[in-house]
């Protein structure tokens, strides 16, 4: 009896299941049908006037993105659809980006618009999966041309075609919210009488003195210097830190000499000097005890507890713990962001800026997209002044207002933004990354539009208005108005090495992984060396092993890539 009931249940359930499946299937088909029917071309629009004419029909384009929280439905994205007739349907990649890009390519199943890195873009170009944009830009992209100027030629690939677009830097100054990489707690500076700290030795002295005086903070052991080696953060705390202390521009794990020769940074003297500094901290018990097994999360936690006195922590890393400190009203435990060097004679070239922000976040249109003209017009709108104001500032009266003829964010919007980290998603300020920290295609914080006003809301004034009283006090002691003031003047560089596609040969990539493995294994041993002799021995052994793996070939490949690019760059600019 009981069984019969159970059986009937199972049968019933499976029927429901199939019915549901049927429904879902139908819905899917309908969806496809409607989106393809609306993809009838809406030509007849003149180039450049896309912004003023309201397109009659809406087209839904799929776009492959990494940011999974994007939605199309905020006030800004709605306005974009109104203006351009384009709606994006985001297909978010969770986890391994490269894998999904490869799968899409293998199955010709890529979305209409796709964001790729330069290496995968090349794969897509080879497969004919992305379309050339130069003619489309010529015809429909007056604003793209205006904002890019001569630099547009830098977008051209070997075959003379342009395949991707990203943000361009029309500014000549560092963003007002930029900060140096090394951080020191306000309270440490205060106790030392707000000294000028320029070298690692000076940094070492102040934290050592403070740690000796305050072995515990809030009942827990004081950590004089923080770092986290586990996972990818090894690049930040053990590589970038040394490059920054040497005042070199950030070419990832590489140093580019003035001669154009490229060297792998982990074996460079910069790294050696920095490891030496870490070694000294370690032997004096000033380095975090578990720096070698800790991930970024744990370091952030310790910083948020207020017991990490100093570290190399770029603002994207230190911002969340500092927010936590402010919330707990531990304002004295916030960080001053100070450039620190190996010695006084280092001249700082680290505040580099490229003309454009290619490399990792390039937007391309795939062969699957119907009516790509419409997409280019959409991109062009984003590059127009009207589009810039809409995407960076928002809607007048809601997100910004005109005060003395200048755009200023409204108080309500600032409040809303600070209270709800998702507000910028909900409103539509966020898009897939375009190479700039700001969203959508940007021309850079501090750049100006034709109306003479700033293109983005990140200005010295707005940044200062967000500082708490303690920060203002410390800034005052040093006679500066923002942390960005401590940075050296911006220097334009042709590119960062990581913006150029690496060799795609799999033998090269194996060497790349092997070197990375080697570095991860040896770094901790070198830093834990008991004395100088051991340190020297271990470092020399590390360099020797790297050479065995194929370091010379590896560096030569990069040198060639860099020099080739440089020649092309100079040729383009001299045209």
């Amino acid at each position: 009896m009981r069984l019969k009931k159970g059986l009937a249940g199972i049968v019933l359930l499976s029927l429901i299941g199939f019915a549901a499946a049927g429904c879902a299937g139908n819905k899917g088909n309908e969806g496809e049908a409607s989106s393809s029917s609306s993809q009838s071309p809406t030509q007849s629009q003149e180039s450049g006037s896309a912004s003023s004419e309201a397109p009659t029909e809406k087209t839904i384009y799929t776009m492959g993105v990494e940011e999974s929280k994007l939605i199309w439905g905020g006030s800004i994205t709605k306005k974009l659809t109104e203006k351009t007739g384009v709606e994006l349907k985001y297909d978010a990649v969770l986890g391994d980006l490269f894998q999904k890009w490869d799968i899409w390519l293998a199955a010709s199943d890529y979305p209409d618009i796709i964001r790729l890195d330069n290496e995968h873009l090349q794969k897509y170009i080879d497969a004919g999966a992305v379309i050339p944009l130069d003619e489309l830009i010529d015809q429909y992209g007056p604003n793209i041309k205006a904002k890019w100027g001569d630099s547009l030629n830098l977008l051209k690939h070997d075959d003379g075609h342009i395949y991707s677009l990203y943000s361009v830097n029309a500014t000549k100054e560092a963003p007002a919210n930029a900060k140096a990489g090394f951080v020191v707690q306000y309270d440490v500076l205060k106790e030392a009488g707000f000294p000028t700290i320029k070298t690692l030795d000076q940094l070492y002295d102040v934290v050592k003195a403070y740690a000796a005086k305050h072995p515990k903070i809030d009942g827990k052991d004081t950590i004089a210097f923080g770092a986290a080696m586990n996972s990818w953060t090894i690049n930040v705390f053990f590589n970038n830190a040394g490059i920054s202390a040497a005042g070199r521009p950030d070419h990832g794990n590489f140093v580019v000499e003035d001669s154009g020769d490229v060297h792998w940074n982990p074996v460079s003297n910069y790294t050696k000097d920095y490891y030496k500094f870490m070694n000294k901290l370690f032997n004096e018990n000033l380095l975090d005890k578990e720096a070698f097994s800790m991930g970024e999360q744990e370091l952030k936690a310790k910083m948020a507890q207020g017991r990490v006195l100093a570290a190399y922590a770029p603002s994207w890393f230190s911002n969340p713990p500092e927010a936590s400190l402010r919330a707990a009203e531990l304002l004295d435990r916030q960080y001053a962001h100070i450039p620190v060097y190996f010695n006084e004679s280092v001249s700082d070239h680290s505040n580099a800026m490229t003309i454009a922000n290619g490399g990792t976040h390039e937007w391309a249109i795939t062969a699957n997209a119907k009516n790509p003209e419409k997409i280019i017009k959409f991109f062009d709108y984003l590059f127009s002044d009207e589009g810039q104001i809409l995407t960076q500032w928002g809607i007048e009266g809601v997100h910004y207002e005109l005060k003395d003829g200048k755009r200023t964010q409204t108080a309500e919007w600032v409040k809303q933004k600070l209270a709800d980290p998702d507000a910028i998603f909900k409103e539509g300020f966020r898009s897939e990354y375009t190479g700039q920290v700001t969203n959508w295609f940007s021309i850079g914080d501090g750049a100006k539009l034709a109306d003479g006003d700033f293109a983005t809301p990140i200005t010295q004034e707005s940044v200062r208005s967000e500082y708490d009283e303690k920060t203002l006090e410390v800034l005052d002691k040093y006679g500066i108005s923002t942390w960005a003031d401590l940075l050296p003047p911006v220097e334009k560089v042709p590119a960062y090495l990581w913006q150029l596609p690496p060799p795609s040969d799999s033998k090269f990539k194996v060497v790349d992984q092997k070197l990375d493995d080697l570095r991860r294994k040896t770094t901790s041993q070198i830093i834990m060396a008991k004395d100088d002799a051991e340190f020297e021995k271990l470092f020399a052994a590390f360099v020797a092993s790297a050479k065995d793996i194929g370091l010379d070939m590896y560096e030569e490949s990069f040198t060639k890539i860099w020099k080739d690019y440089l020649a092309e760059y100079n040729a383009t600019l001299s045209k």
Binding site: N230, S293, S504, K509, Q513
Partner: protein, 316 residues
């Protein structure tokens, strides 16, 4: 593998396959559609193994990529790192298997002896919960407890005077395998014991009643009734799991490991990820996949052979 032919059909001269199929049409109806699904979803994608003998390029696909023979396997077997991660995979897989296998059976037997219903039910429910907690969380908890910087275990050990300085567990290479095994055990043993509980509850209670009459104690009943009852299932699960030793995944090792213990924590699947998918060389990935399958199947067949020899349950 002898198939038992029942006496009724033996009398006739071996009936044709077709005839047999006709007689067993009901059984075929039950299985044929399903075996079709298996062939479609599990076997058709196996053409991907061709990649292992190619220099596969996504752009060209399997049909267009050039063949390179056994180059990828040679590359694999010439790499010292490969054998290191293979060792780690096998050791950790084996430790996990033994701990998990024995642990699940012991837990099931213990729960089966509990007579207080609410206790039995709650303990059983609670022990399986960690199965739903991701490794990220488990690793966080482990780091928190084992940390030399205020970790609870270190504080405890210092308080009772076993150590005077905090012990840096995570930085000791030879501690990695025990820590990993313990955490895997803790996370999965409750979940694994569910099958054994089900089997135990299917054992005929008459057997226990008879034993009670004979005055057998708990241990004796366990030994003579419960354990033999579990054996067939246990042997089959053990055989199946032996094949999975080499397919360990990499999440737990990756999250628990760190640069200092790398030589003990890196496993085959992480190696595959780093040297195949991350660098876009799918051929080496396919070669590793084939290698794993061959090792798995060989291990399963040998255990299955042993199980058959000893007359316990068998898989195939």
């Amino acid at each position: 593998m002898k198939s038992g032919i029942n006496p009724a059909s033996r009398r006739k001269a071996t009936p044709s396959l077709l005839r047999k199929m006709l007689i067993q049409k009901e059984l075929l109806l039950m299985t044929a559609p399903l075996i079709t699904l298996v062939i479609v979803f599990n076997y058709m994608p196996l053409y991907g193994w061709i990649m292992a003998f190619q220099d596969y390029k996504v752009v060209k696909g399997v049909s267009g990529s050039p063949f390179v023979g056994f180059d990828k396997f040679v590359q694999l077997f010439q790499d010292d790192q490969f054998f290191l991660v293979l060792r780690n995979t096998l050791v950790m897989g084996f430790l996990n298997l033994i701990a998990g296998f024995i642990g699940a059976i012991v837990l099931a037997l213990a729960l089966n002896e509990v007579r207080v219903k609410w206790f039995k039910r709650s303990v059983q429910t609670i022990t399986y919960i960690p199965h739903f907690v991701s490794w990220v969380v488990v690793a966080n908890i482990a780091h928190m407890f084992l940390s030399p910087d205020g970790g609870l275990l270190n504080i405890l050990l210092q308080k009772i005077g076993i150590i005077d300085q905090p012990f840096y567990f995570m930085a000791k290479s030879h501690w990695f395998w025990p820590i990993h095994t313990f955490l895997s055990f803790w996370k999965e043993v409750g979940w694994s014991s569910i099958i054994y509980l089900a089997v135990l509850s299917g054992i005929n209670p008459d057997l226990f009643e008879a034993a009670d009459v004979d005055g057998a104690g708990k241990l004796k009943k366990m030994w003579h009734i419960s354990i033999p009852g579990l054996m067939p299932t246990a042997i089959i699960l053990l055989t199946l799991s032996v094949g999975w030793i080499i397919q360990s995944g990499y999440e737990s090792q990756f999250l628990l490991g760190n640069p200092i213990v790398l030589d003990y924590s890196e496993v085959l699947d992480l190696y595959a990820l780093r040297y195949s998918f991350q660098i876009g060389d799918y051929s080496i990935g396919a070669a590793i996949s084939i290698f794993k399958s061959v090792v798995s199947i060989l291990m399963v067949l040998s255990i299955n052979y042993l199980a058959k020899r000893t007359g316990s349950g068998r898989l195939i």
